[in-house]
């Protein structure tokens, strides 16, 4: 079956999902290329583990394939639905897992060790990752969606199935906790007090 769009790359996610449900194999490839990196990154930021994030990403995408025949156009964005499924899968895993001590916080997968500046960036990322993992799950999810995925508060509210006001509150508390957590490491990581 051939794609119905002149430029499949510009087709909306929901249209591709419908094509997939109608048997278009190319639509699956395009959707996976578009959505899997975001799902994987989100899961990794929420879980702090690449291996677990891969499992969650595969499961979230599987749920997407399964819901495709029943997907109702215009009801929700595919990406919003997928972020929600991913977050729920991550929360389920986190509830089953023990808390991760700071010493066991995941390392940055960075094969470009070398320049001191790059090392320092990696250490900052590691510090933030570890601090994120010490946040309550809902605060972490809100902070990651806002500052990593760079989504707007209304979309975050939709993903988290809560109000925009609740998202603002989660973000404020989450960032305050992160700032307090990282305050002691700022000088160590090459930051001055004025930012």
């Amino acid at each position: 079956m051939t794609m119905a769009f002149d430029d499949p790359d510009s087709a909306p996610d929901a249209a591709l999902l419908t094509l997939y449900a109608n048997g278009d194999a190319e639509a699956a490839r395009l959707l996976a290329a578009r959505l899997l990196p975001r799902v994987l990154a989100h899961a990794e930021r929420l879980l702090g583990s690449r291996a677990e994030a891969e499992d969650v990403a595969q499961e979230a995408m599987l749920r997407l394939w399964r819901i495709a025949p029943a997907w109702r156009q215009g009801e929700a964005q595919v990406s919003t639905w997928l972020y929600r499924v991913t977050a729920n899968l991550c929360i389920d895993r986190l509830r089953r897992a023990r808390p991760v001590p700071l010493e066991e916080a995941p390392e940055i997968a960075d094969g470009h060790a070398g320049p001191a500046a790059r090392m320092q960036e990696a250490e900052r990322a590691t510090a933030l990752k570890a601090a994120l993992m010490r946040l309550p799950a809902r605060q972490r999810e809100a902070v990651v969606l806002r500052h990593m995925e760079e989504l707007g508060n209304p979309e975050i509210a939709e993903i988290m199935e809560t109000s925009v006001e609740a998202v603002e509150s989660l973000l404020a508390r989450g960032k305050r906790a992160l700032a307090a957590d990282l305050a002691g490491r700022r000088a160590e990581l090459g930051y001055t007090d004025d930012g």
Binding site: A32, L40, E54, R66, A109, R124, M148, K175, L182, G195
Partner: protein, 151 residues
């Protein structure tokens, strides 16, 4: 957030300057972490696409698969051919009626002959079964004449 002073919680009623300082302090950390998201491995992508193909095939097979119907017993199939229970009960009634009429013909069928023979056989009463062999020879001729006259 709300403008009502009494509804401000300790969590949300915050100094904007302090919030801005927190944002500035966290920004470099977010900047450092944001590009970290690595692309999915080829192995993961292959697993995801394999799932997609399998689910797509399963869905397609479901749509194409004819609905399995339970085997129909021969008697029920025959019943279906002749038109179902209403037709079968009608047939049964007609069959029984035919047998009954054959064994014990009702009076109206014998009435024309009976009417004639009553006249020709003074001893035979109405409703009494009368047969041609009961007539004597002359009466048979008279009956034949009478039938010829009726036609």
């Amino acid at each position: 957030m709300t403008d009502k002073p009494f509804s401000k919680s300790k969590q949300t009623a915050r100094d904007p300057a302090k919030q801005a300082a927190e944002e500035a302090a966290l920004a470099p950390f977010f900047d450092a972490l944001r590009p970290e998201a690595a692309a999915p491995s080829e192995a993961l992508m292959a697993r995801v696409l394999a799932d997609a193909a399998r689910e797509q095939a399963a869905t397609g097979a479901d749509e194409r698969r004819p609905v399995a119907r339970p085997a129909t017993p021969p008697a029920r199939r025959l019943l279906g051919w002749i038109g179902g229970w209403p037709v079968l009960s009608g047939l049964a009634t007609a069959t029984l009626a035919g047998i009954w009429i054959g064994v014990n013909p009702p009076a109206p069928l014998a009435a024309p002959v009976g009417t004639l023979t009553t006249a020709l056989l003074p001893g035979a009463g109405a409703g009494e079964a009368t047969y041609l062999v009961d007539l004597d020879l002359e009466a048979s001729f008279a009956l034949a004449d009478a039938e010829g006259a009726m036609q």
